[in-house]
């Protein structure tokens, strides 16, 4: 069975100040219908750019290599009506900043019915009834009143629910959710996530869920991909991500995050700072910050290794380190920490 979304060898370069800068390197991913795939990474990892590429929202002058196939069709070959149907019907986006993606002088009702009236050629009355139904579906009380309100009259969580309602209105098969809850409070995040999950189950949509929050991805996604410097460094079942990470970077992220139920004497921080694909050194991009790095890691860019049935990793030491990444923390190992920090600085210079 072929996946709904299939990304293969995707490399993207963007024009910045007159030169092409690499933002994604050889990204592979597949997402089956009805499933949720997490895309986790820090700033510069390329997670948002992956989504923009899939949605064909790249700026002019971008240099794209590789394939993005949706339901077997090459997305970059879509033109005219097919492209319009892809963007307006098959795939739908939910953004981090809902407020920036709504027109402040238009009522929520106009916002919701616009797509229905223009795309589905629904009469206005019917579209309005549908909009009310949609708002009720995402748990918004008194939907008739909400339709007459402007974006500034709604709280962030409520607005994000309206955005979700709007994106599911066209019954897409894939939702691209770009940090949809990052700007929200934790309790609101829980509400929005539960609605997204229910909508997904009801309509059988696939969700590509972008987040910087490894814990959130672990809790809501079937599979998770970890990105670093524009590359996929790990892919596996989300539930295993925290217990048995397959890449030193994922393990380091898990350990660096403080725990709610426990105060660490010292957090095992990752030295240096996240790099972009453009700045990344030769060899393994994470090597300068990695406490397991050896000379061999710096020599060549590692390829993606399959680790049994569990998943894949872009770490050449994995067969050797598997299962031991979380065993030692490296905290207290100050000297090597500082050396690594220097090396990491050096590499990004």
């Amino acid at each position: 069975m072929t996946a709904l979304l299939n990304v293969n060898g995707l490399t993207v370069k963007l024009p910045v100040m007159g030169e092409l800068r690499t933002v994604l390197r050889d990204v592979d991913l597949e997402l089956e219908a009805g499933k949720t795939l997490g895309l986790v990474g820090e700033s510069g990892s390329g997670k948002s750019m992956t989504v923009r590429t899939i949605a064909r929202l790249l700026p002019d002058g971008a240099d794209v290599k590789g394939h993005v196939r949706f339901d077997g069709a090459e997305v970059f070959d879509l033109r005219g009506e097919a492209l319009r149907r892809y963007r307006a019907g098959d795939v739908s986006m939910v953004f981090q900043d809902a407020r920036a993606h709504t027109n402040p002088v238009r009522r929520m009702g106009d916002f919701l019915t616009e797509a229905l009236c223009t795309n589905d050629r629904m009469p206005r009355r019917a579209a309005e009834a549908k909009a009310i139904q949609l708002l009720a579906d995402v748990g918004i009380s008194d939907p008739e009143r909400r339709l007459r309100q402007y974006p500034h009259e709604l709280s962030g969580g409520l607005l994000q629910r309206v955005m979700i309602a709007a994106s599911v209105a066209v019954r897409p098969r894939l939702i691209l959710a770009d940090e949809p809850t990052t700007a929200l409070d934790v309790t609101t995040q829980a509400e929005v996530m539960s609605i997204l999950a229910r909508m997904q189950a009801e309509y059988g949509m696939a969700v590509l869920f972008i987040t910087h929050d490894l814990e959130l991805a672990g809790a809501v996604c079937d599979d998770t991909i970890v990105l670093y410097a524009g590359q996929v460094v790990e892919r596996q079942r989300s539930t295993q991500l925290h217990r048995d990470p397959l890449h030193p970077y994922t393990a380091a992220l898990v350990q660096a995050r403080p725990e709610i139920g426990h105060r660490a004497r010292r957090l095992p921080a990752i030295p240096g700072h996240p790099t972009t694909a453009y700045e990344a050194p030769g060899g393994c991009a994470f090597a300068p910050r990695c406490r397991f790095a050896q000379d061999a890691c710096r020599r060549a860019v590692p390829s993606l290794l399959q680790i049994g049935e569990q998943g894949s990793t872009r770490c050449i030491r994995m067969p050797d380190l598997h299962g031991r990444l979380l065993a030692t923390t490296g905290a207290g190992d100050e000297a090597s920490d500082h050396q690594r920090a220097d090396a990491a600085e050096e590499a990004t210079r």
Binding site: D185, E191, R263, P268
Partner: protein, 267 residues
Amino acid sequence: MSAPLLAVENLTKRFGSGRTETTAVADVSFELASGGSLGIVGESGSGKTTTARMIIGLEKPSGGRILFRGEDRTQPARTAKALRERGRNVQIVFQDPYTSLDRRQRIGDCLAEVLGVHFKLSRDETKRRVRGLGELVGLDERQLNSLPKALSGGQRQRVAIARALAAEPEILILDEAVSALDVSIQAQILNLLSDIRDERGVSYLFISHDLAVIRQVCDDTIVMRHGAVVEQGATAAVLDDPHHAYTRLLRDSVPRDGWDPASLARS
């Protein structure tokens, strides 16, 4: 018995008047002991930032009292001299590392400027102190000579911490100071804060929405909601065994293995 370092009594802040009046902070009281670390946790609109802004003197309380070592600090300072004196007691680090630095000022000059406000120093002494502050927060000579745009978010936040510490304050307010940072950088800054506390004995008033970060940094914690304190106590007790339903909801809303947002939303 000596007065606590900072005592806040029945602090209240109302914005607007008449029909548009809203209470941002309602009757909040707490104490911060010398060398202590107090967390204020809450969601947006809980009044935690307004509380911090009143303590630092950027906002005028509508009621209640703020006492520093028993001395009344409720009214914001009016003169630059009074501001300077208070600035040597309490300092603040803001959330956004991008807008909390003057984009046209080199990092070293930024630190030297603040040192010059508080101390009469020779050029050489200023340079030495700037380098010392840089060392304290992990910034090298090259970074001290650069403009903010050459630094990453984490490095900028180090600058903001160094600038606040230049005045050698007894209390450092950290208003969501690590919230905008990547996880890997966040851990570095949290470790740095713990080192600074050990080294300098400065007390923290740590404002955050992130319970795990609060757990890592704070001895005691206050939970705020809609401007009021709903629970307060030792951090471990508040987070491990919350008594208030809202604290429980906050804790359970944090995503983790086996997390079920639907059951939370129903509750």
